[in-house]
Each structure stands twice: as C-alpha cells, then as structure tokens.
Amino acid sequence: MTLYEDNKELYDSIPAEKFKRVERDEAIHDAKFQTKPICFLKDVWLRFTKNKASVCAAIVILIIAVLAIFGPGMNRFKYDEQYPDRVNMPPKIPAIANLNLGIFDGGYVLKNRQYDSISDTTKYPNDCIINVTNPQVVNGVRMVDVEVDYYKYLGISDDECYWFGSDYLGRDIWTRLWRGARMSLIIAVVSVACNVVIGLLYGSIAGYYGGTVDMILMRITEILNAFPRIVIVTLFVMVAGTGMFSIIMALIIKDWVPTARMIRSQFYRFKGSEYVLAARTLGVRDMALIFRHILPNSMGPIITSSMIAVPTAIFAESFLAYIGLGLQAPETSIGVMLSQGQKVLLHYPTQVVFPAIVISLLMISFNLFGNGLRDAFDPTLRGAE
C-alpha cells in the first residue's frame, strides 16, 4: 500500500488546477564578499612583509649588497695595495676601540715577554699595552703574555687603521672583503640567472612535450651530469684562462641540470591538471599554457631553489678558489679570502672569520628570503595565517 493508493479517492478528487509547482524561482545571487579585492602586487607585498624572518633576510642581503658596492671605497686603501711592513695586522676601528670592549682594538698578544721590560717605553711605546696575562717563571726569569694595541706598538696613527685587519701582504681586509663579496655575488647571480633561464627552457620543453623529446633531452642531461666538475673547469681554464668568465661558465655548464629536472617534474605534475585541460578546450596555445598556466603554478619551487642556488654558487666558487682555479691575484672573492685565511687560521683567525660570517649570512638570508618570496607569490595563501 502506498500513500497514494490508500487515499486514492481523496487525492483524485482534488482538481488539477489547485496544484502549484513548488520551485525556488528567485535568481541565484551570491552575497558580496566582506573583504576588499586588492591588486596582485600589493597583495604580494602585504604577504611578504608579514613574514618577519624573510624581511630581516632581505634587509641583510640589502646591507651586504650595499657594502659590496660602496664598501671598498669607504676607506683609504685599495684592494691591491700592498704594505710589506704592515702584514697580518689585527683589526682596529678607533671608535669601537675607545669603548674598551675588547674587540676591534688592534689587540695582539705578544707571547713570553720579560715581565721586567713592560715598563720600558722604548719596547712598548705610546702606552700600547692593553692587558698582561699568564705570568710564569721560566729559568728564574718572570715571563708574561702581553696584549698590545699593535697599531700603537708599531707607531701607526689611528686614521691609518685596518678596520678588519690586513692580510699577509698588508692589504686591507675590509676593502678586499667587500670587493670579494661583490665579485662572488656577481658570479653567483649571473650563473644562477643563466642556469634558471637554460633550465627553464630545457625543462619546459622536456616536461611539456614529454615522450621521445623528453627522453632524448633527459639522456643528454645525464651525459652532461656524468662529467666531473673539476675536469670541465680545468678544460675551461685551459682554453679561456682563469678569470670571471671561466668561473661563471664552470658554474653553468652542468649546474642548470637540476633546475631543468625540477622544472620538468613540475610540468609533469601540472600539465595533466584539470585547469590545463580546461584551458586547452578553450583553444589556448602551447606557449600560453606553459607561461600562463603551468609556470606560475611551479613558481614556488623555482623561486626557492634559485634563491638557495645563489649561496651554493658562492660556495662552489670558493671551492674553485681553494683548489687554485678561482680568481687570480690580486683580484679577490669570498672564496679566495677564505682559502687564504684558512692558511693562517691558527695565528690570525680574524682573516677567515670575516669572510666566513659574510658567506654564512648570505646562505641563511637567501634561504629565508626565498621562502618568503615563494609564499608572497602564492595567491592561494591569501588570508591564510
């Protein structure tokens, strides 16, 4: 029995005109969004500034970049000026030295001096003594370690200070450090830019067309990847001589391969996605599909990996400098300075500390900055957090 069959007579007695079709007739209209639409770049900026770590990183990178540009001109030394009588000077910045903090005071420890001669002004002129430590008796003679202001000790006036000290040829480390940073950054940025461009084109073609094209292109990269870097660099140095060009080429020859692979895999990930198919049904051309649909969606990994590639390239350049294939004297780079500083690490640690700090800062900052950029360019994160 059904409802209708049970009450057949009752139901059938109702005239058809009395029935009205129930239907939601009002047109569908959605409510306005509460939030305001903002233009893309402003949105990117807002999201970037929200990430404090990457803002700090950007500032650090900016400071290093500014110093790399103007640093070498900030004191009276030239990067290739040698002072054979002032080698391996400790760092001294007069303004900081006056604060008695124990840093940048030109302090240098003279080991095992006779205690009796401390007050001898011919030996220790201009009250250069900062500190006396480690008293001991050797063969009945009282010996001490004397920390002196090496500049006063040698009778050098305050306005001739080496802010970060000098190297084994008496060259100013401050000037050389920033000039080196400049060179390293140029090498890194140029090589990474080339790598990204090559990798982008290569990876896009391989990933988008797939099939045989992809297979041939990928085999080529595998062959390239099989060559050890040192062999390639050595060959380049043989042919083109040492110098910036060879180093940049050395950092390009096979380093675009990971970028290309990464972009290829991004293409594989997105080319079958529904929105790409949808665009295809609209008749969107290959180039527009690549540049408007697939690449913007793979921006994140591309940005982060190329940002990380910058300090990695600086590292690679340092490695070349270490094995003697880097920039040749008197030209300098962070890598050259590190390899020179490392030779005197135990006696004059400051010579390696400053370039090490700069390269570490660059490394961390580029990482954080890359992450921030990736998030900033991702509109799907809008309103997240």
């Binding site: 029995m1 059904t2 409802l3 209708y4 939601r24 047109a27 569908i28 209209h29 959605d30 306005k32 969004f33 639409p37 996605s273 529904e274 929105y275 790409v276 198919l277 949808a278 665009a279 295809r280 049904t281 609209l282 008749g283 969107v284 051309r285 408007r292 649909h293 913007p296 969606n297 921006m299 509109p379 799907t380 809008r382 309103g383």
Partner: protein, 317 residues
Amino acid sequence: MAEREKILEIKNLCMEFPVKRREKLKALNNVTFDIYKGENFGLVGESGCGKTTLGRTIIRLYNPTSGEILFNGRSISGKLNKDTRKYVTDNIAMIFQDPISSLNPRMTIQEIIAEGLSIRGIKNKEEQRRMVVEILDKVGLLPEHAARYPHEFSGGQRQRIGIARALILNPSFIIADEPVSALDVSIQAQVIKLLLEMKKIMGLTILFIAHDLSVVKYFSDRIGVMCKGQLVELGDADEVYKNPLHPYTRALLSAIPEPDPIREKKKKRLYYDPQIHDYSKESPEFVEITPGHFVYGSPSEIEQYRIDLKEGINIFN
C-alpha cells in the same frame, strides 16, 4: 526522428589507455550514437565507466584509438590540423567535473573567464570586462567577484564559474561533465536550471553526464546508459524510463530513491551482475529494438528483450 539534424555522430569510438607495458585499459569500447541538434542528451553510468573519457575524447583532449567522430558532418577524429582544432574549440565547450581543480589557482576569475575571449580575437580589456560581468550576472555571481581568486569561492560558486567560462564563448555544443555531482541538492537544482535557461536562450545542445539517473531523467530528451566503456542502452528518456531493457539500466532505475516512504521501503533493489551475459557463443551487438531505442545484447538476449517489451515491464515488483 530521422529528419532531425544531427550535431554529433559517434561511430565505433574506442579509446585505450596504456597502463603497463603492452597492457591496455579499454576505457571506451565501440561506442556508437548520435546527438541531435538542440537536444539534451543525458549520459549515465557508474563511476569509472568512461563517461569523462568519452567527453574528453569528443572535445579531443584525448586521441581516440579508433572510430570516428563527426561534428556537423565534419570529421574531428584523427589527427587535427590547425583549422579543425579551431573548429572544435570554437564550437564545443566542456564543463569540468571537478570545480576545484579545474580553475587555475593563480588566475583571477576575470582572467579565467576572459581567457577564451582573447583567443577569439576580443582583446579589448573594456569589452572583455563588460562581457565577463554580463556572464557572471547570468550565473548569479557579482561583478566584484571578477577580481577574486578561485580559492575564495565555495564549490557551487566555482562550478558556476566553470559554467560561465564555457558559456561566454557561445558554443553550439556543451559537454557538461557531472556539473552537479559535487554540489549539494539545493544548488544542484539551481545549476541545472541555469543550464536549461542558457540552453533556451542560446540554442545549445547539451551532453549531460551524470552517474545516476535521478538527475538526468527529469530534463533529458534522450538518455544513454553506459557500462564499462560500452553503451548498453540508448533511447528517448520516457522510453528508457518506462521500458528499461538492459539489466544494468534496470538496476540503475531501481536505485533512484522514491519520494514516497512506503513505496521506497517496499521497493525491490535490483543488482546488476555482468556474469549473466554469456557472450562466448554469440557475439553481442547494439541493436535498434524499437525505433530510436537501442540495446546491447546477444541475439538470444535481444529476443528475450522483445518478449519483455510485448509483455510490458514492471521492474519494481
């Protein structure tokens, strides 16, 4: 029936996907049917039976393994040259099944909807903007939504954006791939109404894909039932609904919930068991059993169906 103009003719269409080395998955198997101009063709079948594949093969996202597709009498299967591809993209549009992944997350709604316009030579930004606002209004969205990104919308809104993207190009034929499956019931009705309205205004032909008959039966002129890459029954909506011949169609029909609770409770559910067909001796064919009503079966099964037809069918008891 015969004098009606055919907009789409599909002949023996096969589509295979390579799965493993030398192994192939037959997603479409000898599909043959026509769609008439101005009609609303409903295609139903369980999940994974190849409905989406059929739609995508028609719009040529996939290259058919064999068979022929004629659109307005012009062949659009085989290798496409520039001209034919343009012909396909200009005339056929597709609404995608998944409203979330079918919109590019990096593009604003304006860019998404206007993309097809610039390809068709409408490059003027003002003109584009005007047309986008117009179509947004038609699908019930506001002009201010144009500057937003897809993730800011609900599923139903996104589905309507997908519809707007397809409609703005004035296609003559739309493949609507389960446009309502992802939506809740109240919005389902709205979206279907919207499609039907557009159809009336723009003189569209619609291939409406769904996975159950309940959505399709109310507004389709003809219904095709698909099972495992195969069209098993095809006919006028009323005819298929009244005289379902193939056991799979019957099973689908018995799955439609009844609004009457008592009847619903008493209803016998039919289950389809593909094992009942014995095709080892006789090979099955797609046969026109009464004018316009096709069913797939072996000669002896067809005989049985004819008897069923004469005796009248009541699948519910």
